[in-house]
Amino acid sequence: MATNTPYDAAIRRYQPLAERPLPDSAELGDALLERYHPDYIPDRFVELTVGPNAGDPCHRQLADVLQSDSRIDEADLAASAEVETDVLVIGGGGAGCSAALEAARAGARVILATKLRLGDSNTVMAEGGIQASVEKDDTPQMHYDDTVKGASGQIDRKLAAQMVMDGPDVIRWLIQQGMQFDLDQYGDLLARRAGGTSAPRVLYFRDYTGLEMMRVLREAVFNSDVEVWDYCPAVELLSDQSGHCAGAVLSSLKDYRYSLIKAKSVIVATGGIGRLHLNGFPTSNHFGAVGDGLVLAYRLGAKLRDLDTFQYHPTGLAYPHHLGGTLITEGVRSAGAYLLNAACERFIDELRPRDHVAAAIIRECAEGRGVDAGHGESGVWLDTPSIELRHPGIIEQRFPKLLHLGTKSGIDPREQPMLIYPTLHYQNGGVVINRQGASTVPGLYCIGEVCGGVHGRNRLMGNSLLEIISFGRRAGTAAAKRVHGVGMRQKKVSLEHLRAFRRELMLAQMPLTQQSPLLFPEYAKFEKDSDYDGLRRNTRVDDDG
């Protein structure tokens, strides 16, 4: 392992400069990804042995969770309350809220269940913005072409095409919910560029786009007919005789009980897996992002895709330690901020797609040109003073969250660069869906980060806020419509699908010691919290006392 320059020595060497040229030497092409991007580390991947994706490559840590036993069995449900609804939405981020709002608007009875509070999600943390082609020199076709190009192949073209065509109407819908955007002096939407885009297309509200979106959608849901069940993580989906999705089992963190929700359609909008800390990376993700939805859908038989590809956002904070992994928006680079190694040299075009930029940062640190952040961590400089020198006042005006982060870090980003390192940001793959967000299991819709196909192997900045609203609205409407088709037949719901899944696990000689969904990252010690003993009647932990 190469030795990087200690933080104090490196910061003394730094001088603010408005312009720095990019050296010609910087590029390595595809070899850069293959050598340094964490997706290309071969022994991190295994073949899945059970379930609909048996034989497909999957990240080892994710495979462990997918091929685990359930947290519950039929006996746990014996005395559980049963509730009926038309549409059950699992997940309270931007995707879940927009789906719930549209399903309720279409006349369905809707329950929205969320693991923590409504709005606890990655949406609230999104900073950079949302893509929609509204500028006169831009078109949906260009948006589509950029999305396909950035995806490094393997994209579901139909989904991407529909999403970019939805873009402008998604913005109108958000404004109608009461969301603000940054506007120019004439009231037009301001747009900024993103890595890998051919036109300015990212619409934004400061560097608080997700916060603004989430607080508005949360308020809209609270003021609608949607019934919100907070602190109620789903631990299993329910199936009917035909194997269709027929509801879910929720576990209440408030009264420590299970409830059965029978629903005619279920929409899973649980987000991604950042808090699994794949490959030991820090993450920009919300505390609850541990892949619950993938597990639930997989056990019920939903097909997944691209489980070996994840996005590492180039600019996660690397110093100070207590804020490690915190996101700094790509908007800062699109405003012109450089990335500099310890020698204060640029080493990549900062607006290349995220996978390339992340790999280049990892390379600089691996080869000893990075800055040592202590605690075994390293990073490179995000040269924020350079944009302040070129556009005085821009940081305060456009990036208040960055300024606040600086205050919390004891660093003024207008005068001093921030130390950054790639942070695990996004699950590129996920549940296979169609244009309405329907999975391969009838009755089960999946939307947002839990899905795959929309972004291929690399997502562009601003395309995920677009995705959650575009597919959220469509799935909400489709799920509400399906209610009528299902009709009034009384269906028997059960955990029958678990029996088959357990049999498969045993035949494959998988250990049945691990249970999932995890619900929380291991370091929160949820499994050891005696408060929740009531939810653990069935837990087979090794008794060490």
Partner: protein, 208 residues
Amino acid sequence: MTEDAKKLINLRINGKDICAPEALSVIQALWYAGYPRVKGVGCLQGVCGSCRVFVRRAESSEVSTELGCELLIEEGMDVSFLIYPIPPYQTYRLDEIPNSWEVQAKFHEIFPEAAQCRHCGGCTTTCPKDIDVEKGVELAVKGRFREAGELFVQCVMCNLCQTACPELITPNHVALFSRRVTAYFHTRPSNLINRLEKMRKGELQVVE
């Protein structure tokens, strides 16, 4: 630097004496010391408003409110988590306000208590984002919704201001109402409207 990193800090969190290395946040210190913590943890980046804590620092009798994910531990600190959020108790729908002339009257129907502000400053003191909360309420009461909303750009809806108000005003929801009506009635970007028109006429298609 590595020498400093080993320095240990003693503090009390939720009544438990904890010893943890400096450079940890309150939540990280709690986990480090082996205590489970699930409720009151959220984004861990200071934007979700979940991890609200009361803090009393050593040698001080003053109690302040902060976010536990952003708060660095200090020697002798005493910290308590505030767990459950309070859902808003007023109900309104933007599409029930017929037009922008009616917003002010509607506001006072929805938030009748807002005009009762005693100017005690409790809401402003309690805000972990240093927003001039009281001023925002005052502006909204006068119908100056755009200005009121602009004060709340950084609001994470942690509800602390609501907890602090003796008149049961919900200042963060007052502010969010102000922000929402501003967008709903006044955001009409011509570049967006042009694009929507072109798409309506089928002039823009995507070839896969």
